[in-house]
């Protein structure tokens, strides 16, 4: 059964239509990549799943987006908060808060009143362990998160997202600010994480999609042109436009 299902999803920024009839089914505990040239709507699509587009004025959405059979587009305020707890997000530029490492991780717990103070230490340890930061950072949990390296910051952001125990983690070009070695390590981490989480990653780096993802969707000018197993997309694309893109004829 599909974890996330979009049905005839359309989205407008004012009069500009950014998503056109997107139909897609994301499977549970797999990595789904969305690829496409800049401006094709892939980030917009990603931000539909935790309704970050709500922040932008003049956005209208039509159609349905179901997560575990519930239409997320209609929820009121408290459901929105619950949605964002369930659907975590990692951004393009690592954006740890200007607080201590410890405070960064328990931020979500505090906001949702998820755990008691006594449990914080354990949750912080587990979150940092799962992003392989614990050994490096266990002695400086209370120093400022902005002192970390870029890669560590991005790992911390991932730890922060999974500390509230989400189902789904959205990643918006999570490696585009990182060097190749860091990128490889974050990709390794993503493969680890997919045992527990459903991951959707937006990337304009086709090799990355080919390396880490199980399913891939190709978007162009607001349309989801093709969506299939990653192997299939990269070896036997059905659509001419997909083929042109992955063979590097444009994009």
């Amino acid at each position: 059964m599909a974890k996330i299902l979009t049905k005839n999803l359309n989205l407008w920024y004012g009069t500009f239509q950014a998503l056109i009839n997107v139909n897609m089914a994301v499977q549970e505990k797999r990595i789904t990549a969305i690829i496409g040239p800049s401006g094709c709507g892939k980030s917009t699509l990603l931000r539909v799943f935790n309704r970050m587009n709500d922040l932008i004025e003049g956005v209208r959405t039509k159609g349905k987006v179901e997560i575990d059979n519930q239409n997320i587009l209609e929820g009121d305020f408290s459901e929105l908060v619950q949605l964002r707890k369930k659907v975590g997000m990692v951004f393009q530029r690592p954006n740890p808060f200007p607080l201590s490492i410890y405070e960064n991780i328990i931020f979500g717990l505090k906001v949702h009143h998820l755990a008691k103070k006594e449990e914080f230490d354990r949750i912080v340890e587990r979150a940092l362990e799962s992003v392989l930061l614990w050994d490096d950072l266990k002695d400086k949990l209370h120093s400022n998160a902005l002192r970390l390296s870029l890669e560590q910051r991005q790992r911390l952001c991932i730890a922060r997202a999974i500390a509230v125990a989400p189902d789904i983690v959205l990643m918006d070009e999570p490696c585009s600010a990182l060097d190749p070695q860091s990128t490889a390590r974050i990709e390794e981490l993503m493969r680890e994480l997919k045992k527990d989480y459903t991951i959707i990653i937006v990337t304009h780096n086709m090799q990355q999609a080919a390396r880490v993802s199980d399913d891939t969707g190709f978007m162009l000018l607001g349309e989801l042109v093709e969506f299939d197993n990653t192997d299939k997309i990269f070896t036997r694309p059905q659509d001419k436009r997909t083929e042109d893109y992955i063979t590097g004829r444009y994009g």
Partner: protein, 290 residues
């Protein structure tokens, strides 16, 4: 060709002069204050001046203790901070985070207007509205109190604090707020758990500059604080500030007398206080920029 070079040279030097003029003026002012004030300290010790409990500059023998004046200034300033800082920070948050664009413009224009009102007008309005009200509300013999001064000065400090805090809040990267919201925080939680932390150095700097404005303010304070040079014990007592003392007595003192020099000595103290405050504000502003 030669003429052009000369013109270039002259303009460069002129601009340089304009550039250093402000520093030069500050140095000159301080030098003048020092020159006039220093002869006072030959007669009265610094400790006696700062720590003396009585300000009777024209009795016989005169007593030049400015402790009541310093405490008066501090009390009024403290009150003004309590009145203005929470209000101003809340207003800055409203303007930069919550208000719709139209409201933002109206509010910003309003704040500039508030900054443009001459202090004598504010003092006058305080005298005819606030002072009688305070007298009635607290059953006091007089409404000319430190509390009245604090409220009016708080109003005067608000534009400074609001506009600089608002800049600081606007300068907080949007990604912090986005990150907080994406974790399911409400707007309010994002504001007080993340944005305010990031903007804190700027907000502190704004507060310091507001304090600088309050401590140096003269006219309004002189009109509504009652000007009694006694050590205050509550907010509901008349006080006299350092600034009001200089303004009120400078016109009546004999040029070259001890009293005359003592007023310059007060000026030095004021100068040092505001210098420290501005300097602290500057440190925080720079930290914010990094």
């Amino acid at each position: 060709m030669k003429l052009r070079k000369i013109i270039e040279f002259i303009i460069e030097k002129l601009i340089f002069l304009c550039g250093v003029a402000s520093i030069l003026f500050v140095i000159l002012i301080f030098a003048f204050l020092l020159k006039e004030g220093i002869s006072f300290f030959k007669e009265v010790s610094f400790g006696k001046f700062i720590g003396g409990r009585y300000w009777y500059p024209i009795s016989e023998p005169p007593q030049f203790g400015i402790l009541p004046l310093i405490l008066g200034s501090l009390l009024v300033t403290l009150g003004a901070i309590i009145v203005s800082v929470p209000l101003s920070i809340a207003a800055a948050f409203y303007i930069s985070e919550v208000a719709p664009i139209k409201m933002k413009d109206i509010l910003k224009a309003g704040i500039e207007m508030l900054a443009a009102i001459p202090s004598v007008v504010l003092g006058f309005i305080g005298m005819v509205t606030l002072v009688p009200w305070i007298k009635k509300a607290f059953h006091l013999p007089t409404g000319l109190t430190a509390f009245s001064g604090s409220i009016m000065l708080g109003l005067m400090a608000m534009p400074t604090i609001i506009s600089i805090s608002e800049d600081a809040i606007n300068a907080v990267p949007k990604s912090y707020k986005e990150g907080a919201l994406a974790l399911g925080a409400t707007r309010w939680q994002a504001m007080y758990r993340v944005v305010i932390h990031a903007a804190m150095p700027g907000i502190i700097a704004a507060t310091m500059l507001g304090i600088g404005r309050v401590i140096g303010e003269t006219m309004a304070v002189m009109m509504i604080t009652g000007n009694a040079a006694v050590i205050p014990h509550t907010f509901l007592q008349p006080v006299r500030t350092l600034t009001a003392t200089i303004a009120a007595e400078m016109g009546e003192t004999v040029h070259g007398s001890m009293h005359y020099y003592s007023l310059f000595a007060i000026g030095i103290i004021l100068f040092v206080i505001t210098f420290i405050i501005n300097f602290t504000a500057d440190i925080f502003l720079h930290r914010n920029r990094k």
